[in-house]
Symmetry: D2
Subunit: 371 residues, 4 copies
């Protein structure tokens, strides 16, 4: 289904940037799960634009209203619908360029698909604004996963050409949550040069992209399906729903294409009575199914298509070559804000996969203990 | 659903390597589409092992039996079920190592998921053998797409460290179909060194991987959905159902993460009365929707996990460290054979997306003409 | 999916009676379809309670807010989300009886399913209030169908023991739309005795049910699928989602079980160059597929479970026999108001089936002309 | 999806009457479930035609071949594919009448849908022959349900105007399984008059229908969903996939439409520490969710459309009125054979609903015990 995904738990995303509201329907949660406003606020804050030269000056209160499925601070077991009002909208910025297709954006494909009836204001349905709904829904899933002993963690592996410390340096997998307003990095010392590089691109009227890496711990071996509902298929499907994602890899990913089998294979070993792998080049997934090791994935996030440099384009109604200089408020880099979006959608996907295997009630009553 | 994928057209894959048969159910085809045995045989031949030091010595006749949905050489409009008998099975090779988990394989995850009840012979449901069913189903889709003016083409972009000529060198997108028994390459001169490198790895008792690149031309702008059924989500979901795929990227993919926006954006231009992009770094997709340019994707295929070198592993029933030396017949490299599998699954995905937009009857009567 | 149904067009219903809002997400509409507030208001008015001794005294303004998918009075092609605020809520009436399971209601099954976490106020998710969202979504579908030449019409075939005129009396299928505030009847003269019978039951502290009949004209032969997506399967699935529906039949329905084949078969005849059937005992469907004749179905609607008579029941927390006398505001009969709900869900189902066959664009550009 | 249904467990039906084979794919079964050939044979025998004047003279060995998903007499956890070869086919009988649309059959709708490309031999995809695949798949589900303490039982409530004893007469719900070759009846004494009435209709060159009643015991309260995946929606969807079913009702069904609420409501009572209802007019379902009482449903099965009397019809290619006298081998009544088909599809639906709630592993390890 077009705007809906998931098997045992499903997520529907709706809204347009300058319409009345954006939101989500999250169906398939067990009843009685705690909804923690403080945790939600914390996650929404991660995605919030700050108007600080790193992200757009359009800031929204991002107040989540639960229209259904939550009562007295707990899920009721029915579909959770949440909405975020669109308040800080300045459609004038966009009206001027509606006829000129913005390169790298969905302006042309929206015309082709919707035959001119799309709500083009602020990118409409294609706006990054909709990811706020994904973050809110994902925060509910993350909270449930935490009670099940599953953690989902995303850091900026690389941005504007500056790399974070590698995951292998995360001793014993101590993954530090960033302080509010700071970048999600394993090594906080990389934040200053990363911000400087982003600001430099912004000062050029240009934009930059990066790589987001997510690690999921605590998923029992046996989750996922061999063919079309593999862990990788489910998560990749979700990741490519994020605007600007153009690539994904699991474990050693594309580097595996250049390894020999003797290097790519992860040897099995007994450790503390449990079966583990000595390395994790397969990213916690064998044959589409979780093997109990951390699930590791990386996405390629392209640079923000909205730049201030003059660009060649086409005037759509006139069917004529033209040039365009974009005004408005835009992030020179969405990678830092996208980290929490990716984390949220991965959390949703993992909760769906766990629920397929263990049933809805396990969300509330816990996963079976490993033998 | 676990072994089923697709919206308007759906594909179910079933079977075990040493069970009675493997096969597929392809549902949602229009009635009256020609089923061309010669074309099917050609595609099956591409995947066939040859026992030539490049691929496994297990060769199968790969005779496709249509159990339903085909009559007098045409689709009937009901579900097409096809089966391929498993004939050349030597389960003895595997029995010896059933207790020893093969690194890089799904042996352990199968134990965890199926609690010991899996049919482990020859890899069972996880065997590359099942991709024959995907090729057969995909060949039907490819044939339909050709009549609609859509072409899907896959070449080995890189294998065993040897790269093919880049796609940009394909002047006017003349994409040469390989001769039977030969590798799918833009530049046939790369075949000899590629084969030599694969053979060298095999002689070491080792294996190699590579990168497969697919290009789809003729998809009208407007196909695909903005959120969960994006062109990229649908195709990535399918690609990660292929055994051994650990990464995927569209257009410039991971390289986009290091570009600036001014470089990553594809400028729109008028050419011959049609809107095109001057470059194609977004791989034919903007905002999840086809923009009319060639759809370009690359997958990372890991090296065959079956190698002849001795490997550390675990004896599963004994829960003890052990070592393993794999016997049996295995490809030192599956990349050349996987090319047609990838092509088939992409073709299926594209046909599904077209059918969602234009309806089932359009498969038979043609796509609407662009304005 | 739990609260979502449909293939090419999908409908999600959400909300609780006394929560912030109830609503629906309708996904899969083409772009550019007119959204007519007058038509919507007319349909909502049909479902509105009037506090006239026939329906509950809880009246709501039923103002529909479109949160997404509608812009400048037209669909944008993305998911249409609509919400109706819950305003006139008097939860006090219900708090008193929360522990006492209301017979015929979902109180006990909600406890069993949601383990006590359900929002039980006013029936919560099980309230007839949610049908307002179905009516709003269905009205959009009805409007589209009208432009395609498809009409969906529902009348009260029987209520409180009083029958409407039979459909066969509808000469040339002139199906009169009821005046606002009046019952949907082929013969308006039946309204007075029907209302009297309902009022008599209400005066007894009791309630009554009835039979709703829907007729759909203009569906081209060939729509629907032979097995699981038959016209009857799709519509029955939707009808049993309506609260209080306990039976459905197509054409002559249960009477067919007592006919001989020579009576049950509808002879084919040529009429004005088109193939028709001389009778319509199969209700417009052969082998699950529309045959071009009117699709006719009837549902059995049970009497409102909320009655004022004292009833035996169980005190759930105490696990003890008890008795219950329901207070609050309730319809002695929901059949007249349910007519428009049934019409709406049938309209949605038919639009989905048409879209599967003809594609999304056909919603806007019209169905192919019959040969 | 067209030929596929189900959420956590899915069923795909494929095949044509005179094609190579008919079959089914049953996906979502846990691994390690016993596959009992004797039980399968027993269920297949129930559906078998006997050529005894009650059912068609076309008898098939109905040998089930498992193509996948079963190994050493147990499920492997992957998709179970089963096929039944079509052997006893006499297509000549049909060739003569291919142009003449058989009233009550899907001949015309198949032409409309498949534009003449359908495999019309023996009814093709619309043949009752396909129900053999449903019986085989359902037998696997029934066997699993039995180990979970859930029983599904179907009897002929009425056939050819002769009624079975009412369910209320089944003291303590002792539901007798019929002897091989005999009708499924609560009161075996009704078999002789029922058979005589069927034979009488057959002797007239005519056919008869009936009513099938299914009762499901042991389903825990809380199974099913409030809106679109209600117990009634799921089962009705499946029942209308059966050829010839034109109506369904739950509990008192259509009779509820004529009751008052005080009569229709089932009072709750404590019995042996458990919550039960004193009556079961709601058929074990409140608000779409199982309430722990037996789930009771009845379907209306129309008389076999193949009769030997001369009938008015249309010559399809000629587009002209014509008349038709059907030859071939046909059941004067399919109700007795359809009983096991209905039982099988209900069993599949119940297993799917249980799996959604309790997870896949519960199929093997048991349902949670009620408090």
């Amino acid at each position: 289904m077009k705007n809906t995904f998931g098997s045992a738990v499903s997520l529907t995303i709706f809204g347009e940037s300058h319409g009345p509201a954006i939101g989500a329907v999250l169906d398939g949660l067990a009843a009685g799960l705690a909804v923690d406003p403080a945790y939600l606020a914390l996650r929404m804050d991660r995605r919030r634009a700050r108007g600080d030269g790193l992200s757009t000056a359009r800031t929204e209160p991002d107040e989540i209203e639960f229209l259904s499925g939550v009562y007295n601070g707990r899920t009721t077991g029915t579909a959770v619908t949440l909405a975020l009002r669109n308040t800080n909208t300045r459609s004038g910025d966009y009206a001027k360029t509606a006829a000129l297709l913005r390169p790298g954006h969905a302006d042309y494909t929206a015309f082709a698909k919707y035959e001119g009836w799309q709500d083009a204001r602020g990118g409409g349905h294609f706006s990054g604004r909709l990811t706020a709904a994904a973050v809110a829904a994902g925060a509910l899933c993350e909270h449930v996963l935490q009670t099940l002993g599953v953690r989902v963690y995303t850091h900026i592996a690389e941005c504007a050409g500056i790399a974070d410390a590698p995951l292998s340096s995360a001793a014993g997998l101590v993954l530090p949550e960033p302080e509010p307003g700071h970048f999600a990095l394993l090594d906080p010392a990389r934040e200053a040069p990363m911000q400087a590089a982003i600001r430099a691109a912004g000062a050029d009227g240009d934009s930059v992209g990066g790589v987001l890496e997510t690690i999921v711990t605590g998923v029992p071996a046996g989750v996922g399906e061999p063919w079309f509902d593999s862990v990788e298929s489910e998560l990749a499907h979700l990741m490519f729903s994020m605007p600007a994602v153009k690539g994904i890899e699991f474990g050693a990913g594309f580097a595996l294409a250049r390894m020999r089998g003797s290097e790519a294979n992860d040897a099995f070993r007994m450790r503390g009575g449990r079966i583990v792998t000595a390395t994790n080049r397969n990213g916690g997934v064998n044959g589409g199914i979780a093997n109990g090791m951390p699930i590791v994935l990386r996405t390629a996030v392209k640079p923000t298509p909205s730049i201030y440099k003059r660009q060649d384009t086409v005037d759509y109604p006139a069917r004529a070559d033209a040039s365009l200089q974009i005004a408005g408020r835009h992030d020179p880099c969405i990678v830092p804000r996208a980290a929490v979006v990716q984390n949220s959608l991965v959390a949703f996907g993992i909760l769906d996969l766990l629920t397929v295997r263990y049933g809805t009630l396990a969300q509330k009553h816990g996963l079976p203990q490993p033998e």
